[in-house]
Amino acid sequence: MRTVGERIARPDSLDKVQGTAQYVDDLSFGAMLHAAVVRSPLAHGRIKKISTAAARRIRGVHAILTAQDIPGQNLIPMIQPDQPLLAAGEVRHIGEAVALVAAETKSAAEEAARAITVDYEALPAILTLEEGFAKREIVQHWKLRRGRPCDIFSRHDVVVVENTYQTPYQEHAYIETNGMIAVPETDGGITVYGSLQCPFYVQKAVASVTGMKMNHCRVIQTVTGGGFGGKEDAPGLPAAMVALLAQATGRPVKYILSREEDMQVMSKRHPGKIVYRSAASHDGILLAVDVDYFLDAGAYATLSPVVLWRGINHAAGPYRCEHVRVDAYAIRTHKVPCGAFRGFGEPQIVFAHERQMDLLAERIGLDALQFREKNALETGDHTVTEHELKESVGFKDTIIEVRRASNYDRLKLEIEKSNGARISENPPNPKRRGLGWGCCYYGVGLGARGGYLNPAGASVVISSDGSVNVAVGTTEIGQGMITVLSQIAADALGCPLEFIRIMPPDTSRVPDSGPTVASRTTLMSGNAIADACRQIKSRMAAVCADYDFSKIIAEMKSQAVAASARGETHPKSDFHRIVTSSYTPSNRASGHWSEEAWLWKATIQRCVQNMVQLSAHGWAVPPQTTYDGETGLGDVYVTYSYSTNLVEVEVDIETGETTVLKVWTAHDVGKAINPQTGEGQIEGGVVQGIGYGLLEEHVLATDGSKAATRKTGKGGPFPPGRILNDQFSTYIIPTPMDIPEIHSLIVEHAFPYGPFGAKGLGETPIIAVAPALVNAIANATGIQLREIPATPERVWQALKQEASRRTQQSPRRSRKAASAI
């Protein structure tokens, strides 16, 4: 039977609900040491001297390494070769690693790290994006030039809206912090186990610092407690650290970051600043956008160039817009390097364009939804990069679905009425309801700048009992990859789902399959599996086509029944499962598959007897994409997923507090391989988007910041640039109390190249939530925020300003009214 499109329960959840899933910190190896890291307290400084003598005397210390002890290159290879593993001579951000310790226990390692003294000479630090831009500390500059925006903006018959928007750092806040274990192998290689998204990035980092060949650096992903992009580029650092320490000591080394350390030093979503000017005609056609887009990259380039590139490619949103000028800059500052985060450079610029859409609509006198619908991309249209959309454009249907499910037109009137009634209550009810829209599209996969990272491989091996091992190079990080790829493999082979096992990702099993990012896993690994399965199926067909299996099946059944009756089969054996339909793992009867399972087993038996090769490597290469570096134009992605959100909020105008009541969120995903995992992605993404829009930001120390550190208990000024909120009590993510009603809606405009028509879904859910929230706050209260998160403080301040602006204006207005009379 076909499993694609069905709500198959996650096969990996049985281990997770029993506590038997093995995350990296659950693993131990014989004679394992523990690591600790000495980190820079300064945003920028010169290292004058590192004294390790006292630390070396601590009992149980086995190795202390600094930059000069690195046998390979002191480099974490990413896009630009700028990031050392250990600071050599100069530190460029607070928390940059300076020295590594391995010791018998974690506490001995930490004690030794504290005993290492580093003398620094403080250097001037660049702590703001503006300062970095003024000093031309530009990591990357991308341009987009289309049409003649200047001509549009100089016209008198257009509506122009211009604003500057600010977006904050966002912390991934995966519940499992980063962690790695390196194990030296007897043949001289090193195996690294860890919490990670991209095994091949980690492999490159380990090979770089150890100086080993890549085939000696094996990376195995352990069950990973959330990623969201935070375990894309950043895990290369802890992996390289434990690998060096394992190489130096010849013993396994474990390093698990504490929550505060993880929040201080690991990557985050780039803070953004967007200067956005839009022009539309009076009848509601979006004509031109003119944008300067800045991201604060932090001290090293990491993935900033491509994060920025994704932002610029989606600069005008999912709308037709023929005249475009965008300059996008990633700016180097002396702060923690930012990296990948779900949405990857889009949430920042989408916040800006979706606010602009509302403000333009208001100026034109159109409903926010009408204005969007009028300009929405459809088949045959061109994107902002002049990519002609030939197929699979479900954007309008996402709008239609949300409008239908929310009963928008009626809801809007009902809210207006209810707000009016609240104002006239005595005393007036301070709560105002409001609705806000947010739309986006998302280029699936890495696109034209992905290069050799674009393809993905898969290995499919069928054992003689019919069970199937599927190995891929992408990873399960909670998003549901194991489930979805199992379904694709089962349907591509035509075998029951329970025969499929997705192996833990291991760099020694498949070739470099690129990273688990960019909503590409279903598409790329799915196609690679389908490719391998096609090869095996055609070999199977050669001996099985038109073959009558009934005799084999009857024989196998009678043998199995006899064996079972004699008590020879283990209750949990595959045979037993098929014979006894009552076997129910987690109440799931697998009995109804038995006929299909028998046929599959018989087929495999015949193939084995006929010496058919029941294994294959699959390879998927995406369709051609193009990009012109001068103009920024091209068919930059293979296809796009589309999303529309409508949120209903309630704002307390006395406290500034916003409560999210309802969210309708529709996504064109091509084909939902599994609607249940799809909903999981949507609900989780929306809630992370609520965090981004309303709650989450990092506060950095300025010159005057004083606070007591938890560890030392000593008061005193924090160095400028230090993150002050590095715990869940100060960096607030949505809790179970913050969750609205979420209506997840799936739209399927099949993508012919995708497996079973699938595109990607991982990221669209988070991207356009924040602007929808701020638009809804504007709708409820009249305040126009240009900065997120819309914390109660910010909303309250804006309400106060708005009130004082109104009182200043009102005399003038009444004079006008008088003169009109």
């Binding site: 709500r7 519940i175 499992e176 929550r259 987690s586 909903e679």
Partner: protein
């Protein structure tokens, strides 16, 4: 408590009930219950999320009440009854209805926060066999999850509660759709 402290090794020896079985363990007295469970008893189902009492990931039941195991010393459970995710199964070895419901509905995504949610929800259902959505939100409000957006967790607790009341012995239609 801590009567058997041996100065030389700096270890304490305590006895308590762990997942329904008598348990004796020796450990350094400064260790938290979380560390004792994971490091000295090898029960790694209980996870650490922050070790500051802020995320609920390490929740276990002590005398049937949820406790953040990162905030209490191992010493404090002497003579008491501790339940971890490893002890959630029913007497016949089958999964607890909460475990089944979490698996069936996809309420465990990355799964790292799951043991803490399961144990906190277990206590809720023992106190209140028919919790409202608001009761569930409040009971789970000390647990953080970053993957699910909590919706499927609420639904799983509701499904488990219904099954435990004997109201819906089967998985709802939509859930098993693919398995028919």
């Amino acid at each position: 408590m801590a009567k058997k402290l041996k100065r030389k090794t700096q270890k304490v020896h305590i006895a308590f009930t762990l997942n329904g079985e008598p348990c004796e363990v020796a450990f350094a007295p400064h260790k938290t219950l979380l560390e004792v469970l994971r490091e000295d008893l090898n029960l790694t189902g209980t996870k650490h999320g922050c070790e500051l009492g802020e995320c609920g990931t390490c929740a276990v039941l002590v005398d049937r009440k949820p406790v953040l195991s990162c905030l209490v010393l191992g010493l404090t459970v002497e003579g008491r009854e501790v339940t971890t995710v490893e002890g959630m199964q029913l007497a016949d070895g089958s999964l607890h209805p909460l475990q089944t419901a979490f698996a069936d509905l996809g309420a465990a995504q990355c799964g790292y926060c799951t043991p803490g949610f399961l144990l906190t929800a277990k206590e809720l259902l023992e106190k209140n066999s028919k919790p409202t959505r608001d009761d569930i939100k409040e009971a789970l409000s000390g647990n953080l999850c970053r993957c699910t957006g909590y919706i499927k967790i609420y639904e799983a607790v509701e499904l488990a509660a219904a099954r435990m009341r004997g109201e819906a012995a089967e998985v709802p239609e939509e859930v098993v759709l693919g398995l028919k």
